[in-house]
């Protein structure tokens, strides 16, 4: 896949360059028409300027990018901008503008919407963030993505924008919402145990290859439900990387007979007699 990453560095910013300038340069390069995967890195003051101006510009120039199959909007690390400070926008216009899009990856959920989400070819949707709001969750639940195979959502914590409950997540666990789904990631959650418990006996497991419950606050409690499930063994891969399970439970999970990842065991913190556990991406 021919990939191009556009990013405005600190030094370019100091020299007075801006992201629209980078885009113009990109379009004027004849090889841009062959680019299949476009990565949008930091733009100017990502914590104050939303991605809307980039979305608008890409839509306007869609004809110059006939080969695009993948987009990653917001590829940046905390050194560039805290993940919860990245300001996104409604990214649906991109889906309408690029009918051949197969992958959309998004980092940052502040200001994010995916309104009227419909696409015939999209196979992969990934949202990495500190906390996903029910607005976006509902956008995805109401979407029409008949070819979606890979859905990966960082649910995050309340402090960074997660305002849902297990009830808001449950609809993702029902078979049929995305008929071709092979990979489901409901991860980086502060209610990871509840999610594990709910999904353990859900019929969606019958059709999945991978269940990704990694990066959250999974403990023995949630893992116990997975262990007892008859359906879990239908999976090819169970990703529980970054967790709060005991050594004993890790052993039991490893003996499930399917490929599992139980690396990166976390230690809970105790403070004033309260126990604290944090998902991986909470800053």
């Amino acid at each position: 896949m021919i990939t191009r990453r556009l990013a405005l560095s600190y030094d370019e910013c100091e020299e007075g360059k801006n992201f629209l300038g980078l885009l113009e340069e990109f379009y004027s390069d004849p090889s841009s028409k062959d680019v299949e995967y476009l990565v949008i890195g930091p733009w100017e003051e990502t914590w104050e300027n939303s991605s809307k101006f980039i979305v608008d510009n890409l839509v306007e120039n869609k004809d110059k990018l006939p080969s695009i199959k993948g987009l990653f909007i917001g590829d940046m690390e905390s050194e560039d901008c805290e993940i919860s400070w990245i300001i996104q926008s409604d990214l649906s216009p991109l889906l309408r503008a690029f009918p051949n899009l197969e992958e959309l990856k998004i980092r940052g959920s502040s200001g994010l919407r995916l309104s009227d989400l419909q696409h015939d070819k999209l196979k992969t949707l990934i949202i990495e963030c500190g906390g996903l709001s029910t607005d976006v969750i509902d956008d995805i639940l109401e979407s029409k993505l008949p070819n979606l195979e890979h859905l990966e959502l960082y649910l995050g914590v309340e402090e960074y924008g997660f305002n849902g409950t297990i009830e808001d997540i449950k609809p993702f666990m029902k078979k049929g919402l995305f008929p071709k789904l092979k990979y489901l990631g409901l991860k980086d959650s502060e209610i990871q145990d509840e999610i594990a418990h709910e999904i353990a006996n859900s019929d969606i497991l019958d059709g999945l290859d991978t269940l990704d419950l990694s990066m959250g606050t999974l403990t023995d409690e949630g893992a116990e439900s997975l262990l007892k499930s008859n359906r879990i063994k239908n999976l090819k891969f169970l990703d529980l990387n970054y967790h709060y399970m005991s050594d004993d439970m890790m052993k039991k999970i490893k003996s499930l007979g399917i490929k599992v990842d139980v690396t990166d065991q976390q230690e809970e913190e105790e403070y004033d007699d309260e126990i604290y556990r944090y998902p991986a991406v909470t800053e």
């Binding site: 930091p42 914590w47 104050e48 905390s78 050194e79 400070w85």
Partner: protein
């Protein structure tokens, strides 16, 4: 002429032990050790304790509370008033009551004044004792320790450094200064600190007024007064009252404020380079990988491999060249640990710190030698 080494340091500290081991390993006599405690006992009169023609190695006075208290006492007795140093805030009477408390950052501006007097006293010995040679030169050590002065000096010699903001008196002043320079993200550091003590990464966003201070400083209270501690875990403050408390205190002691240049990263880690420059040439290199804005290794950060950072050969060479250029600003000092930031995206190097005692890099080898052995070998070539 055969010369012997003398180490001025804290004899119980591993830094001294490592250097002695390196001397013996090279078939040399172990150095005589003059402890900082002894220097205080002698009220800084140390002329008779240093042999003529010695090579003097000055070590970090850190990790010894008696010495720390001695330095602070020197500072508060000095009555010095200096523009670039904040107000000393301890009276001699309180000093006697000063007790060791794990991690507490004690009277930084007093400490620097005391450290200055101490180094000056050591330096003055050269007028009484003949033929001394300094591994690192005390007046230059003092400059390296004073961040605003050091950065300004580097800048004047066209060494790339982050943009500096003016002197700030506190939180409100900092916000104004940031506004004025259109800078939204800054590092605020205690002007004289080392080992990431009193370092903050601060950012705010004007639309929502949201702000975040990541810092190695932990706020505590003693008898109703705020006290500030070094934390090995990065603290994240989002409440204005706490952010203000930390920043006001740092500014009262004297602060270095500079633009926060995003560091290059690899696999979700940001990194910078600790480069030991010996005799003006870059030697030992330690990439420091961090998930927080602070890269110091004692904060639990990882060492990386210079060849696995996604930098081109030319970019690495450029980073090392700038470290060497920075070292040349201190022509009378033999070695220093220079921290080089590699900017995200452009991979342009910036010098963010020059550490006079930055050679404690156990396990890192260059040309088959540890840092101390290499320093001695190179120094012997010179003499």
């Amino acid at each position: 002429m055969k010369r012997d080494y003398i180490i001025i340091g804290n004899p119980e500290n591993r830094r001294v032990e490592f250097f002695q081991r390196a001397l013996v390993g090279q078939g040399m006599k172990p150095a005589k050790v003059l402890s900082y405690e002894e220097i205080f006992k002698r009220k800084l009169e140390i002329g008779g304790l240093i042999d003529t023609n010695s090579i003097v190695r000055i070590e970090s006075p850190g990790e010894n509370f008696n010495v720390e208290r001695g330095i602070i006492a020197l500072g508060c007795e000095s009555g010095d008033i200096r523009e670039d140093v904040g107000e000393g805030d301890i009276r001699a009477g309180d000093l006697r009551k000063l007790e060791y408390e794990k991690g507490r950052i004690l009277y930084p501006s007093c400490w620097y004044l005391g450290f200055t007097r101490l180094q000056e006293a050591i330096w003055k010995v050269s007028s009484k004792v003949q033929g001394l040679r300094w591994m690192n030169y005390p007046p230059e050590i003092l400059t390296m320790f004073n961040k605003p002065v050091c950065q300004q000096l580097l800048d004047s010699k066209l060494v790339p450094v982050p943009r500096r903001l003016g002197k700030v008196t506190g939180y409100e002043d900092l916000r104004n200064e940031m506004e004025c320079h259109s800078v939204k993200r800054v590092f605020v550091k205690l002007f004289m600190s080392s080992s990431a003590s009193g370092v903050c990464a601060y950012q705010f966003e004007s639309k929502s007024g949201r702000e975040l201070l990541s810092s190695t400083i932990e706020i505590g209270q003693i008898e109703g007064q705020l006290a500030f501690y070094n934390s090995l875990k990065i603290k994240r403050y989002t409440e204005k009252s706490k952010i203000k408390a930390v920043l006001d205190w740092i500014c009262s002691q004297g602060a270095q404020v500079e633009a926060w240049i995003p560091k290059a990263g690899i696999d979700g880690y940001a990194f910078d380079l600790r480069v030991l420059v010996v005799g003006k040439k870059a030697a030992h290199i330690v990439p420091r990988l961090s998930k927080s804005p602070m890269t110091n290794l004692h904060l639990g950060n990882k060492r990386g491999d210079i060849n696995l950072l996604g930098l081109t050969k030319r970019e690495i060479e450029e980073a090392l060249a700038q470290a060497e250029k920075a070292s040349a600003v201190f022509p009378n000092s033999h070695y220093m640990g220079i921290d080089v930031l590699i900017a995200s995206g452009s991979h342009k190097p910036y010098i963010i710190d020059v550490n006079a005692f930055g050679d404690l890099l156990p396990g890192i080898v260059y040309n088959g030698m540890d840092t101390y052995t290499y320093e001695i070998a190179k120094f012997n070539c010179k003499t």
